[in-house]
């Protein structure tokens, strides 16, 4: 699993301090890199609610408390599962590295086993907790893994957006292409369409609510709609706090076992 970027789904597109030099000549790759490399603060915590809605409208809700901290060349995050009841007190920790090609380190604590287990991070195409988001969708995909082309500019919800087409370099990747609408100046992806290996439209990600919190643009609600299977995942973020001085000791086996 690669759960660490759950928090970053809200922060990945937050705009802060990125200058817009030579906007007119900017390339698709530069736009995507600006999104990927944006400043997100030293640390952050939030409460995430994920609602899984199937084609009949039935819902399942997952609640998570999460913390992350940037340590320079590595970033650590930890999340605690609050509900449903049968996964309560499960925790997950991820350490990711700036070093290109270096895999994340990940551990999961299962209270029934009372043991912290190291797990493989080689699961970027897996869906997170049964949702419509893969781990790659949650922001972990490096810009160098795709080729990016600026298609046009377009206005959505009153925001001027760059429209970028991204094609994977890896053969057989689960998406044959994606198209992303990125708000100019804010570097927030407002909408993203995903196309499957056959080139058919698979999913659409829509950002429905975002706000500036502690000086950072934060996405507070987004919806991933699988148009083929006709189900959705709605992500809501609450109680967002940034740069609150989270202690390094938060990202340890001790806290995984102890809980929030």
């Amino acid at each position: 699993m690669n759960l660490t970027k759950i928090l970053l789904i809200t922060l990945m597109m937050s705009a802060f301090g990125i200058s817009m030099q030579a906007q007119e000549k900017i390339t698709g790759r530069e736009i995507i890199e600006n999104v990927y490399n944006r400043e997100t603060g030293e640390d952050a915590t939030s409460d995430l609610t994920m609602t899984l809605r199937n084609s009949r409208g039935n819902e399942r809700v997952r609640e998570i408390k999460q913390f992350s901290k940037d340590f320079g060349k590595e970033e650590k995050s930890i999340m605690f599962f609050i509900s449903p009841a049968d996964v309560r007190n499960t925790s997950f920790m991820n350490w990711s590295y700036d070093e290109e090609g270096r895999d994340d380190d990940q551990w999961i604590y299962l209270p029934a086993l009372k043991k912290v287990k190291r797990i493989s991070s080689d699961s970027k195409n897996d869906y997170f907790m049964g949702s419509d988001f893969t781990y790659d969708d949650l922001g972990d995909r490096h810009p160098s893994e795709d080729t990016h082309k600026l298609l046009r500019e377009e206005i959505i919800n009153g925001e001027v957006c760059y429209v970028i087409e991204s094609l994977p370099k890896e053969k057989g990747y689960m998406y044959s292409r994606t198209v992303t609408w990125i708000i100019k100046d804010k570097w927030i992806g407002l909408k993203k369409e995903f196309y499957d290996e056959d080139g058919d439209h698979l999913k659409t990600l829509s950002v429905e609510k975002y706000d500036k919190i502690d000086g950072y643009w934060i996405i507070l609600q987004s919806v991933m709609h699988n148009v083929q299977k006709k189900h959705k995942t709605i992500m809501n973020l609450k109680n967002v706090e940034i740069n609150i001085g989270i202690d390094e000791g938060k990202f340890t086996e001790r806290i995984m076992k102890r809980g929030i």
């Binding site: 399942r60 350490w95 043991k115 912290v116 190291r118 493989s120 102890r258």
Partner: protein, 411 residues
């Protein structure tokens, strides 16, 4: 019985009320478990209702947890107790846990090598959930943290042995002895005194490249040695029967475990050296029929995925050092475990196959199961426990093949 159930019910209601009033966190589950043998007349192997509650409270660096449970059987007395009941004291670099607690060590799955702190409840062999197999023991646990490493010290003042099945249980196995025997339990008890307490120590590190643990223990062997006293027939002077006297012995253990990532796989290992374990011997010159030997137990395992399919396999070897041909146990005992698990329907349907395979005797325990989350927190499980072979630690239960279903509601 009705009055007892009523009292317990009132107790639980009172606890829940206290939880509400005192701002305690509480959660738990209710579960119904029905299993039937597939051999013979399809008798029920288990009809069990479980109620498991968990209360927690924390304040100013102090944490309190109590986990009462209740088992109701169709054919046995109501069973209730505390799985855990302890208090934590948190300091900057030190945590103290005092009370009845389950302690889990090591990196192995479903195999107990360095995981010897909490004794096991083997009344239903290895079939219950691991949270139910481990017996909570009253102990003092101290953890000292230094960055990403930690030192853990456990003191258990009173020894608790492995809990074995009742004599009439389908899981009860009589000692394998070539002569008629009777049992004398006069030596089996370990007296409750300070000098009989157990000490366990562990150093562990969790780092980006590898996680490992080193452990040492001065404890009691949870499983008794069966010393024999020969009964000589007065008429012909030949030994025609024995009295078996189960007795626990001191055991010193040194061990360790590790876990690391290699590409897409996680490699795990665990091993321990046990000093002073007793084994049964057929040597007629040995008066009590047992020999003390040193013993190795180790494992190598790998976890990997093929698409959505999660796979895990472990090779386990037990070695009796300075083995001789008179020992009943083989010098090497090899076991393999295999796990395959896959989720469907947005992780609401899980299909799993777990098996232990004994390589010495060609026996196995095969455990297929299917779990479906009807709604969040309410799961239905259907599965089977299939014992293959005629002898060995799994084959000896060949007649206990069973199918089962469980309904579990978590809140």
């Amino acid at each position: 019985m009705t009055a007892k159930i009523l009292r317990i019910f009132v107790m639980f209601i009172a606890l829940v009320s206290i939880a509400s009033a005192q701002d305690l966190l509480f959660n738990g589950y209710a579960r119904t478990y029905l299993g039937a043998l597939t051999t013979g007349e399809s008798e029920y192997s288990i009809v069990q209702n479980t109620f498991d509650l968990n209360f927690e409270h924390t304040r100013d660096g102090i944490y309190f947890k109590v986990n009462p449970f209740l088992y109701h059987y169709s054919d046995k007395d109501l069973e209730l107790g505390f799985r855990q009941a302890y208090m934590d004291l948190y300091f900057d670099s030190i945590d103290l846990r005092i009370g009845k607690q389950q302690i889990v060590w090591g990196k192995a799955d479903g195999v107990f090598i360095t995981d010897i702190v909490s004794p096991k409840d083997m009344r239903e062999f290895l079939l219950p959930e691991f949270s139910e197999i481990r017996i909570g023991v009253t102990s003092l646990k101290l953890n000292y943290y230094m960055g990403s490493s930690a030192f853990e010290l456990v003191w258990i003042p009173v020894f608790t042995p492995t809990q074995m099945p009742d004599a009439n249980s389908i899981w009860n196995i009589k000692p394998d002895y070539p002569l008629p025997f009777s049992l004398d339990y006069s030596n089996v008890e370990v007296k409750e005194k300070l000098s009989n307490s157990e000490i366990f120590a562990k150093y562990s590190m969790l780092s980006s490249s590898i996680d490992f643990e080193l452990m040492a223990a001065y404890s009691w062997d949870d499983d008794p040695a069966f010393h024999s006293e020969k009964i000589i027939n007065q008429t012909n002077g030949i030994v025609d029967s024995v009295v078996l006297k189960p007795e626990h012995h001191r055991l010193a253990t040194l061990g360790g475990s590790f876990s690391t990532t290699i590409g897409p796989a996680v490699l795990r290992g665990e091993g321990a050296f046990y000093n002073g374990k007793f084994f049964q011997s057929a040597d007629p010159l040995i008066p009590d029929g047992t020999e003390e030997k040193n013993y190795l137990h180790y494992l190598l395992g790998v976890d990997y995925s093929i698409g959505d399919l999660k796979l895990s396999s472990q090779f386990i070897q037990q070695v009796i050092l300075e083995h001789n041909d008179n020992l009943i146990n083989d010098e090497f005992e090899n076991t393999v475990t295999f796990l395959a698990s896959i989720n469907f329907l947005r992780e609401t349907l899980n299909i799993e196959l777990f098996s232990y395979i004994g390589l010495n005797n060609g026996d196995a325990l095969i455990r297929p199961k299917l779990t479906y989350d009807l709604v969040d927190g309410f799961e239905i499980t259907a599965g089977a426990n299939l014992f293959v072979g005629e002898e060995g630690q799994f084959g000896r239960y060949d007649k206990n093949d069973m199918i089962y279903t469980k309904l579990k509601y978590s809140f």
